[in-house]
């Protein structure tokens, strides 16, 4: 048991690293060109120079905008302990102006230990906010407004945005407004007077390039050599990781995976899956772990469904496909049976089952949602007369048949007939 425990420890260390955004974005701290340093410089200069600023963080979902912002805010709260208060709003929850102002007032009250009254009106709340801004400006305290889902605040009359950005135009207030959005054209959504007051600083969070992704992987997967883990084990582990990275198969899988979505979140999901597949007997990662992770993430549920179908059900699906290709508009159980009989007659197959067995198979397919009825209202007619359609595309059917372990050749021929 003592020998197993360090492997478990390594596994839990790797998993905790992947789930910790601070660790992932740490290597970016050092380069002065990174978004982290730019954001930190902008915010700290606004705080020290007491001038108002507004910044927009743009990037696809999962590219680390909120994570980097949390890091920066955390660092600033440590550096300037009493000079910042943070107000967080979300476009999903607070897109209505009344609601948003109430939330701002509530958070301000919370920060400064004042009494908050739920019955305060819109007017009261906005006057309170302006007064607080003035007070904090006099006390040299900066208020940081973080607006998540910024593009949702830009719907409607944009009153909240206008009042926030307008308050920053006066010399008495000291505030920084940071908007986070995944829409690249978020600032085009603003009205022209709001856009005029916005200071147009944008930080773009682009997904990392292939090399950067590899370096993130290396950074996460390398075990620390001088920790509580046994030295030899850690060194061996790291060597194995380097071998994997140089492996051609791994590179192919990795590239294939990142060709669909190269955001950091996607990459971390892949790593987590792979690390969880690690064999605890050996305690080392292998290339197979990554391939398992790849196939488990890139699932195609309909193909898996097809794998579990019986041969009769496959026949029914192929018949429906043929009907579609022949452009027969009516496709219900009866017409499928007719087609099935045709196929049997022309090819003399051995699989010819009775009608009630086929009906059972048909209902199975309905349950599994590989086909569905097209008439959603009026279940007046019986199952055999209701029109049905395929929910699986022809290419998927093709693929499924190819992957089927004992698919009769006749089905392939029938599918290929249509091309």
């Amino acid at each position: 048991m003592g020998r197993e425990s360090h492997k478990m420890k390594a596994l839990s260390l790797l998993r905790s690293r992947i789930c910790d955004p601070k660790f992932i974005f740490k290597p970016l701290h050092d380069s002065p060109d990174s978004n982290y340093s730019k954001l930190k410089f902008m915010m700290s200069s606004s705080i020290t120079e007491a001038c108002n600023n507004s910044i927009l963080l743009l990037g696809p979902r999962g590219s680390g905008k909120s994570a980097v912002l949390e890091l920066v805010v955390g660092d600033l709260l440590v550096e300037y302990p009493d000079m910042i208060s943070v107000i967080k709003l979300s476009g999903l929850l607070h897109s209505d102006d009344n609601c948003a102002l109430k939330e701002v007032a509530r958070q301000l009250c919370l920060e400064h230990q004042l009494q908050f009254s739920k019955a305060a009106s819109f007017d009261d709340n906005s006057q309170f906010m302006v007064a607080m801004l003035k007070e904090c400006g006099l006390a040299h305290k900066t208020i940081v407004f973080i607006l998540d889902e910024f593009d949702l605040f830009a719907q409607g009359k944009q009153r909240l945005l206008y009042s926030l950005l307008d308050a920053m135009q006066s010399i008495t207030s000291q505030a920084v407004v940071i908007g986070i959005s995944c829409r690249m054209d978020a600032d085009q959504l603003l009205e022209k007077r709001v856009r005029s007051r916005f200071s147009h600083r944008k930080l773009l969070f682009l997904p990392p390039s292939m090399e950067d992704s590899k370096s993130i992987l290396e950074h996460v997967m390398s075990l620390p050599v001088d920790s509580s883990l046994p030295h030899d084990y850690a060194v061996e582990f790291n060597r194995k990781v380097q071998d994997i990275l140089a492996d051609r198969r791994f590179k192919e899988t990795f590239n294939k995976y990142l060709n669909f979505d190269s955001s950091v979140k996607h990459l971390l999901r892949f790593l987590f899956c792979a690390v969880s597949c690690m064999d605890l007997q050996t305690g080392f990662l292998t290339c197979e772990n990554f391939e398992t992770a790849f196939s488990s993430i890139m699932r195609q549920p309909k193909l898996e469904c097809l794998k579990n179908c019986s041969i009769l059900e496959l026949y029914i699906l192929v018949c429906m496909k043929r009907l579609e290709v022949k452009e027969q508009t009516l496709c219900n159980f009866n017409s499928i049976m007719k087609e099935y009989k045709n196929v049997h007659d022309s090819f003399r197959t051995s699989d010819y089952y009775a009608r009630n067995v086929c009906l059972k198979a048909f209902e199975h397919l309905i349950n599994r949602e590989l086909i569905c009825f097209t008439d959603n209202r009026g279940h007046s007619s019986s199952v055999e007369f209701r029109p049905a359609k395929l929910l699986i595309s022809s290419s998927e059917l093709h693929q499924g048949l190819k992957a089927y372990h004992s698919c009769p050749a006749i089905l392939h021929k029938l599918m290929d007939r249509e091309g």
């Binding site: 002065p32 020290t48 108002n52 819109f122």
Partner: protein
Amino acid sequence: MPTIAKRKVAKEALSETTAILPEKTASDVRSDPNSTPCKRKLRSDGPLIMDSPFSSPTKWKSPRQCSSESPNRAVTAKETVANEGEIKSHKSPFKSTQDSFADKPKWNPKDGEQVRTVKEALHVSTAPSTIVCREDEQNMVFEFCKSCVEHNKAGSMYICGCPGTGKSLSMEKVKKLLVDWAKQAGLLQPDVLSVNCTSLANTSDIFSKMLGLNQTQGKKTSASPLQQLQSLYSQKSSSLNMILMVVDELDYLITKDRAVLHDLFTLTTFPFSRCILIGISNAIDLADRFLPRLKSLNCKPIIVTFRAYSKDQILSILKERLRELPYTVFQHQALELCARKVAAASGDMRKALCICRSAIEMLEAEIRESIGLSEISLEEKASPRQNLASDPDHVKQEEFDTVRIDHVALALSKTYRSPVVDTIQSLPHHQQIILCSSMKQFRGAKKDTILGELYRSYTGICKSSMIPPAGILEFSNMCRVLNDQGLIKLGPSREDKLKRVTLNIDETDITFALQGIRFFRNCLQ
């Protein structure tokens, strides 16, 4: 080098000395707004300034006689102390200004205090002491208000202009001028009420705000605030003074039946009305579109248009802000480039100020980078002590003095360039293929398609280039990601395959972004 703190002290010193001056000069200026305020004051204050306890910095050359017609030399006496030599040497921007820049020493961008001062001078929230390039408009408004107050008549005025053209700023100035003038002229001082219509929960709250100022009756009547005002203005009462109402963002008062806007403006037509109404908005034709009835009532508001700033105006405003600093911060061409680009784009002064501050930050970033590099090189050298002594000198010799034209160019491109091209270039491969296939679909007259069709086109491209296509689930995931980023637009539908797809960006952007990759060039043929 004088810093802000010292300048403030000097301000006080001079204000005491100006008190000794006869009242005439101050009121002279204020009651004669035809001339640019304080323009002529400088010469009369000349001898006074020489006595100031503050001596001018030693590096300045001898002051030159300046022409008195320069419109942007208008500055109050308070600001002149530390800049005494430099004011006289400042020429109008319409003439060549290379000389005036040569007069002032260059700033040291490594000095945090100076950087802070400059940034504060260029910040949007710092109201300049005088507002240049808006004298005509200010005069018009001021004359109008003056005549209303003098004749005890009500009136209305509508100010329109693009954002960032100095409307609210000028109104602040006019308010102050009016109150001071009324005090000077011994008339009843008008009350001033500023309302920003975005802060009103209900459009009719504006009337209660007006009443709030007019706190005459203590008794509660059952009539609405509007009716109270209307009854108030229908009776003669000599005790009321005029109200100057400045209503900002007037278009927020527009309701479906336009009642509030109409009622507000018709309040000025009542026989004993006491309010001078000034509405500010962005729409040029607001008065024509929404207040047609006023013309028949003969009370159409006077319209003052604040046109967008031209390049020269922007340049002169920027120079005015920078003039108060005792050192040159920008190269002349840099400021000109900024002014030209902003004037061509929107004529918005806030943008110009933002870009200048951005350019300063570029310079700061450059300095930080060079410091970082020089530190690295110093460490790497591991040279004996004598070399180390000379190396810092070498670092200092790098001229980081003024903000150059390339800094401004970088700031301009950051502000005006949309991130679309960068985004497309950094998209993963398959998402780029999706964009290409949508472009191919929309080549003809068709401008939208459904997801199923797009999938077919996408698989076609993939198959022709031997790339395994993604399944339909992964494909719709990728389309959703592209929709979130605003590159394509997905319509709602119960079924995934039937969602409508439209391109949200320009096709030329896609072509430009992907032109470097041969695969896409062939694909888009």
